[in-house]
Amino acid sequence: MLKVSNLSVEFGNTVIVDNISFTVPTGETLAITGPSGIGKTTLLHAICGIVRTTHGTIHIDNTDISSLPTHKRGIGLISQTGDLFPTMTVSQNIEFGLRIVKMPQTDRTTRVQELLEMLNLTHLAHRNVSELSGGEARRIALARALAPQPQVLLLDEPLSGLDQNTHDALMSDLARVLKQTATTALLVTHDLSEAELLAETTFTFPHK
């Protein structure tokens, strides 16, 4: 379970996120909607520790993670662009988080294969990431984020900028994978249809 309580983020004198609170039950997805530029991405970055919070706390299963550095929070993030590592192949990208936790090579290979199959990406395993299409890159980013089995997955408009067919296919895959893996997730989107399909509940970001 992810619990965010009275979270605020300020940059200098500018309040970006103001006193936000919500809870996401384990295995469920909460969609955060609202217009562009309102602070949705900053909220996600604050939750995973990339941005320092001004006030408030973040708990995962009753453990306060507010003061932990990003790499110790156990929270995965999929950004709008995927942010695949350009010097690595598809497989190397996916196994990155597993190498960090020093998982044995055989287990890593098995896990990577499992994710590639889950997302129908097996044929791309050894491809350079610069050769991927937009939709393929998003799928790889999803596989990479799921590989270390994060306690919470943050999805920052993972379907934006895709053509309709790719968007629909990836949305359907995302819904399936989130359900299959029972991942606790937070989805930022301004598309209400995405929110309806992917999330159990929706939280509308308050206007400043």
Binding site: K72, I75, F85, M88, R99, I100
Partner: protein, 510 residues
């Protein structure tokens, strides 16, 4: 909002690592220079220098020849940088090697090559020699940045109706301007503190502050006047660096790496990069070829005797064998790179202020040399005669350049990749090792080449420290070219030609 985010840099997280480059520079640069200034600088002498019409003329000539040299260098180098960053063609690697090689050559070699062609001294040969030297600075600093500018953005501008000139000014220039300003600043400083070129091509009437510092300190023994001139020189350089930094906007936007394109099929487009490259090569390579020619031809007779001498023989004019000189220079270059590149990487990867690391640029080699022999002359720091001391000082001199060579690449790494790595569980150190270093590999190779190049070509400070067992190639070449005798001179040109050939080969791979 991404702009406001904290950047979990390795060095900002572990600030202790930043102590290493600060300590290194403090011991081997700040201390000796401060020591020489504290002991020999007097305001009364500084006023005398400012009031002296002859010395004011020297300062004015230093300034305007440096500005003109910088502008001419940009005129030759920027189009060539565009051609080599944007296009691949047969011979491009060789062109790059030819254009970047002069930077590592001793000033005396390039100056002698220009003199061999112009057969006269004065402003034009000085400007030409400076252009020959400094094209590589632009190429090495602006090239990596320009090659990262996403071609698709230029295509987008073109499809929106922008002419090539508008595309350049609105799309490309904002992304490369900080690298160009940074490189142009360096070129100005090199021209402003040029010594070897002025000594050979300036004759008696053209003197710069650097040559005057040497004359006052070494020939006239007037250390106070030399120190006052050095301070004046440093003030001018610091002013230029300050103005440059104010006008340079660090570009933190990630530039998707754009691979060089093959030459286009349309003849107009096909010929332009080739013509530009060829023009730059003629301007830069002709003095180098003149050097090679002089190593092979004596009294209109073709001969390999000088080459045989430097590769297997000995020379009475040198106290050590030419082969030992070559090996010494290479070992020094490797040691200097091993010290310089890691320190530069720590600085370039950090968000800490780096004004301190520009200081070696603001102080001339002669000023540093005087400081070194004064400071490291007594126990327990009597290091001035130690062999290891020379590559350490080479690393000091190379450090600001290597930092500048690495900075555009470190800045181009998007924060979002570091964030992605962190959310996958990687600590800042793991992110640095696994994500950032692989991305920096090409820039690190270039930085290593640049560091080695500086070490191989360094002449000013080395001349204060070199002993018979630690003679480097530039020192040996200057010694040989400064002695009478056709065979000795030709051996000097052969060593210089060897440097030309080896560096063209090495730099084209870096």
């Amino acid at each position: 909002m991404a702009e406001f985010m904290e950047r979990p840099h390795l060095v900002t997280r572990t600030k202790t690592l930043f102590i290493a480059p600060v300590a290194f520079l403090s011991v081997f640069f700040v201390a000796p220079v401060a020591n020489s200034i504290l002991r020999y600088f007097h305001f009364s002498e500084f006023s005398n220098v400012l009031g002296n019409q002859s010395l004011r003329g020297v300062a004015w000539f230093s300034l305007w020849q440096a500005v003109t040299s910088t502008l001419l260098t940009l005129v030759v180098a920027l189009p060539a940088t565009w051609a080599l960053s944007r296009y691949t063609f047969r011979g491009a690697r060789l062109v790059r090697g030819v254009l970047t090689a002069p930077f590592v050559l001793p000033a005396v070699v390039v100056a002698a090559g220009v003199l061999a062609i112009t057969d006269s001294r004065g402003v034009f040969p000085i400007l030409w020699a400076h252009v020959v030297f400094n094209v590589s600075v632009i190429l090495r600093i602006v090239g990596p940045r320009w090659s990262m500018v996403n071609l698709r953005l230029e295509h987008a501008a073109a499809t929106l109706g922008a002419r090539p000139s508008r595309t350049f000014s609105l799309v490309v220039w904002p992304q490369i301007s900080d690298a160009v300003i940074s490189a142009a600043t360096l070129v100005f400083i090199y021209c402003f503190t040029s010594f070897g070129v002025i000594a050979i091509l300036g004759g008696v009437s053209r003197r710069t502050l650097e040559s005057e510092i040497f004359t006052q300190a070494v020939r006239l023994g007037n250390t106070e006047t030399a120190t006052a001139l050095a301070v004046l020189q440093a003030i001018i350089i610091c002013t230029v660096i300050f103005i440059a930094r104010q006008s340079s906007r660090p570009n933190s936007t990630f530039l998707h790496v754009s691979a060089p394109q093959p030459l286009r099929t349309k003849p107009r487009h096909r010929n332009t990069p080739l013509l530009i490259s060829a023009t730059a090569v003629v301007i830069v390579a002709s003095p180098l070829l003149a050097t090679i020619y002089r190593s092979l031809v004596v009294n209109n007779q073709f001969s390999f005797s000088a080459w045989r001498t430097i590769l297997s023989g000995s020379l009475p004019a040198l106290s050590v064998s030419p082969q030992l000189v070559i090996i010494t220079s290479l070992v020094f270059a490797i040691i200097a790179a091993c010290i310089c590149v890691p320190l530069a990487l720590l600085v370039a990867s950090s968000a800490a202020p780096r004004a301190l690391f520009s200081l070696p640029l603001a102080v001339s080699a002669a000023t540093l040399g005087i400081g070194l022999i004064i400071t490291f002359n007594t126990s327990p720091f009597a290091w001035r005669s130690e062999r290891w001391f020379i590559p350490v000082i080479h690393a000091v001199i190379a450090l600001p350049l290597v930092i500048r060579a690495l900075e555009p690449a470190t800045r181009a790494i998007p924060t979002s990749l570091r964030n992605a790595s962190a959310t996958l569980g990687a600590s800042p150190f793991a992110t640095w090792v696994r994500v950032e270093l692989p991305l920096l590999r090409p820039a690190l190779l270039r930085a290593t080449g640049l560091s080695m190049a500086v070490s191989l070509g360094e002449f000013g400070a080395t001349s204060f420290l070199s002993r018979s067992g630690s003679t480097t190639l530039p020192i040996a070449i200057a010694q040989l070219l400064g002695r009478p005798g056709v065979a000795t001179q030709q051996a000097g040109f052969a060593l210089a030609a060897l440097m030309v050939l080896v560096t063209v080969g090495v730099m084209s791979r870096a």
